[in-house]
C-alpha cells in the first residue's frame, strides 16, 4: 500500500481504519485496514463493487458513522470536530431536496442552520445557483425539476457554505448516460473554478477515470483498498479526453484490478 510520506500536510488522512458491523448473523467487516492520504485540491474517486465499503469510507470521513479501529484526520481534526466545524459538503445518491422549499430556499438551508447573516445568505445562494446554471429556477419547487437538475441543486447546496471538502456518494448513479456525462463536465468545471478537494464514490470506471486525479480501487468481502491508481491524463479535461489512448489504458488497468479482486 502506498503510504504518502507527506501525511502531515494531507487534508485527509486515513490510517489503518476498520469498520465492523455487528448483527444477529455475526460480524461483518465493511472496511479493513484502509490507508489513504489526500492532498488539498485532489479529485479522488472511490470505485468498487457493492459491498466494498466505499460508501462506508465516505460516511466515516463525514462522521455519519464511527470507525471501530484506526484513525481519521480531516485538516488535522477528528471527523466529529471536522463535522462540527462544517469542513465538508455532502452530496448523496439522491438529491435529498426538501419538498416544501423552493430551489433557492433549499440552497439557503445550510446557511440558515449555520446562522449566516440574513443579508449575505440570499446573495450567496443566488451565486451558487448561477454556478450550477439554475438561477432561472430559483422559485420552482424540486418536483418541477428533472433528476439531473435536482442533483445540480444539491451540489449548489453542498457548496453554499464554502467547505474545503466535497464528499459525493454516487451522485449521478441514478441518471441517464447523457445527463451523467454532461454533469461530469460541469463537475470538473466547478472543481477547477472553486479549487475544492473532492472525494467521489462511483461504480463507473469511465466516470472515475474521467474525473479523478487518483482512483482508489476497492474490493469486497472484506471491503478494503486494493490499489490506488494515478490518473495522469492532461488537465483541463473535455469531451475528447475519453478518446485518448491513455484513457483506455487506465480504464483497463482499473478493470483488471477490479476483476482480480473479485476472484
Amino acid at each position: 500500500m502506498s503510504q504518502n510520506p507527506s501525511s502531515l500536510n494531507s487534508l485527509v488522512s486515513v490510517k489503518n481504519v476498520g469498520m465492523v458491523f455487528r448483527s444477529s448473523a455475526g460480524e461483518t467487516t465493511a472496511l479493513q485496514e484502509a490507508n489513504l492520504e489526500i492532498q488539498q485540491g485532489e479529485f479522488i474517486s472511490l470505485i468498487g463493487p457493492s459491498g466494498c465499503g466505499k460508501t462506508t469510507l465516505l460516511r466515516l470521513l463525514a462522521d455519519l458513522v464511527s470507525a471501530t479501529s484506526g484513525e481519521i484526520l480531516i485538516g488535522g481534526m477528528t471527523p466529529s470536530v471536522a463535522r462540527a466545524n462544517r469542513a465538508y459538503g455532502y452530496v448523496f445518491q439522491a438529491p435529498v431536496l426538501y419538498d416544501w422549499r423552493t430551489v433557492i430556499s433549499n440552497v439557503l438551508l445550510p446557511l440558515e442552520i449555520m446562522n449566516y447573516p440574513a443579508q449575505t445568505r440570499k446573495a450567496r445562494a443566488e451565486e451558487m445557483l448561477r454556478l450550477v446554471g439554475l438561477e432561472k429556477f430559483a422559485k420552482n419547487y424540486p418536483w418541477q425539476l428533472s433528476g439531473g437538475m435536482q442533483q445540480r441543486v444539491s451540489i449548489a447546496r453542498a457548496l453554499a457554505f464554502d467547505p474545503k471538502l466535497l464528499f459525493m456518494d454516487e451522485p449521478f448513479g441514478a441518471l441517464d448516460e447523457i445527463t451523467r456525462e454532461n454533469l461530469n463536465l460541469e463537475l470538473l468545471r466547478l472543481w477547477r473554478e472553486t479549487g475544492k478537494t473532492v472525494i467521489f464514490v462511483t461504480h463507473s470506471i469511465d466516470e472515475a477515470v474521467f474525473l479523478s486525479t487518483r482512483v482508489v480501487v476497492m474490493t469486497a468481502r472484506p471491503g478494503r483498498i486494493e490499489r490506488i491508481i494515478e490518473v495522469d491524463l492532461p488537465q483541463p479535461r473535455d469531451e475528447n479526453t475519453r478518446e485518448l489512448p491513455r484513457f483506455f489504458e487506465i480504464s483497463t488497468e482499473i478493470r483488471e484490478c477490479l476483476r482480480r479482486g473479485h476472484q
Binding site: R83, Y98, W100
Partner: protein
C-alpha cells in the same frame, strides 16, 4: 423548462352536480316509499285528517319519516328566520361551529405537544400512548355530563365544556397523524441535517415540522368531523341553552320530524364547510404539494 404542472382546468363541479341531480330525482320516490306505509296506518287508525288517500297523506304527516319538499321548505323558512334569533337554527349553528373550532384549536395544540413528546422520547411513548388509545374508547355520552358538572363547579359553563369535549375526541387523530409526520423524514434527509451539524431543535424546526404539515391537514379533516359530532353530542348530553345539539334534543322530545331534518341538514352543511375550510387552508399553506 416550462412549468410542468399538469393542471387540467376541468370543472370539478360537474360530477358533483350530476350526483346532486340524481339525488333530487330520487328524493320524491324515496320519500313516498318511506312515508306511504305510515300514512296508510295513520288513515286506518281513524284519526282526524285533512287528507283522503294514503298518497295524499304521505305529503302532510306531522311526523314524517322523510319530509315532503314543501314541508322541508316551510321548515327551513320557519326555523331560519330571523337568522340571529336564539331560537333559530343559524344562530345555534354558529354556537356549535364556535365550539367545534375552539375544540379543533385546543386539539391541535395538545395534539402537537403530545406528538413532539411521543417522537422525542421512547419512554414517553411506551408509557403514555396506551393511555391515549384508552382515552378514545371512553364513550363521550358518558363523559359529557360529568365534565359539565365538574367544570361547572369552577365556573366554566356554556359552550366551553362542549369545546373541551370536542377537543377530547379530536386531539387523537391529530396527535397520531402529527407523530407519523414528524417521523416521516427519510434517513438521508436526517443525514443531511447531520452533515450540517444541526441541533435537535433545528432538525425539528427545519425538517420534522415542515415534513409533518401534510399529515396535519389529513388528520385535521378527520378531526373536524369528529369534533363536530363531539360538540353536538356534548350539547345533547349536558345542560345546554344553545347549539344544534340542544335544538335536536328539544325537537326530538317534541317529535317534530321536519325540524330534525332541517337541523340535520344544517349540521351536515356545517361539516362540509369545515372540511372545505381546512382544504382551503391546506392549499394556501402547502403550495409545494403537487396538484391533481
Amino acid at each position: 423548462m416550462n412549468n410542468p404542472t399538469l393542471e387540467k382546468k376541468s370543472n370539478s363541479f360537474v360530477p358533483l352536480l350530476v350526483v346532486a341531480v340524481i339525488g333530487l330525482i330520487l328524493y320524491l320516490p324515496v320519500m313516498l316509499l318511506a312515508n306511504y306505509g305510515p300514512a296508510q296506518k295513520l288513515l286506518s287508525s281513524g284519526a282526524e285528517l285533512e287528507c283522503k288517500t294514503a298518497l295524499e297523506c304521505a305529503f302532510q304527516m306531522r311526523n314524517p319519516v322523510v319530509p315532503a319538499p314543501m314541508q322541508l321548505w316551510d321548515g327551513f323558512k320557519n326555523m331560519s328566520l330571523p337568522p340571529l334569533e336564539p331560537t333559530s337554527v343559524p344562530y345555534n349553528l354558529l354556537v356549535t361551529a364556535g365550539e367545534t373550532l375552539l375544540g379543533l384549536l385546543l386539539a391541535s395544540v395538545t395534539g402537537l405537544l403530545l406528538a413532539v413528546l411521543l417522537v422525542s422520547s421512547r419512554a414517553f411513548e411506551r408509557s403514555v400512548l396506551p393511555w391515549l388509545v384508552a382515552s378514545q374508547t371512553i364513550p363521550i355520552v358518558a363523559v359529557a355530563p360529568m365534565l359539565a358538572v365538574l367544570l361547572g363547579q369552577y365556573g366554566v359553563q356554556g359552550w366551553v365544556p362542549k369545546a373541551l369535549i370536542a377537543a377530547f375526541i379530536a386531539f387523537f387523530p391529530i396527535c397520531i397523524g402529527l407523530a407519523k409526520g414528524l417521523r416521516s423524514p427519510d434517513p438521508l434527509s436526517l443525514d443531511l441535517m447531520n452533515t450540517y451539524h444541526a441541533s435537535r431543535v433545528q432538525i425539528f424546526l427545519k425538517l420534522r415540522f415542515p415534513a409533518s404539515v401534510p399529515y396535519l391537514f389529513t388528520a385535521l379533516k378527520v378531526s373536524a368531523a369528529a369534533a363536530l359530532v363531539g360538540s353536538i353530542v356534548a350539547e345533547i348530553s349536558s345542560i345546554s341553552f344553545s347549539g344544534l345539539g340542544k335544538m335536536l334534543a328539544e325537537n326530538s322530545r317534541a317529535s317534530d320530524g321536519v325540524a330534525l331534518w332541517v337541523i340535520m341538514i344544517y349540521g351536515a352543511v356545517l361539516g362540509i364547510v369545515l372540511v372545505a375550510l381546512i382544504n382551503w387552508l391546506e392549499r394556501v399553506l402547502t403550495p409545494w404539494q403537487r396538484k391533481g
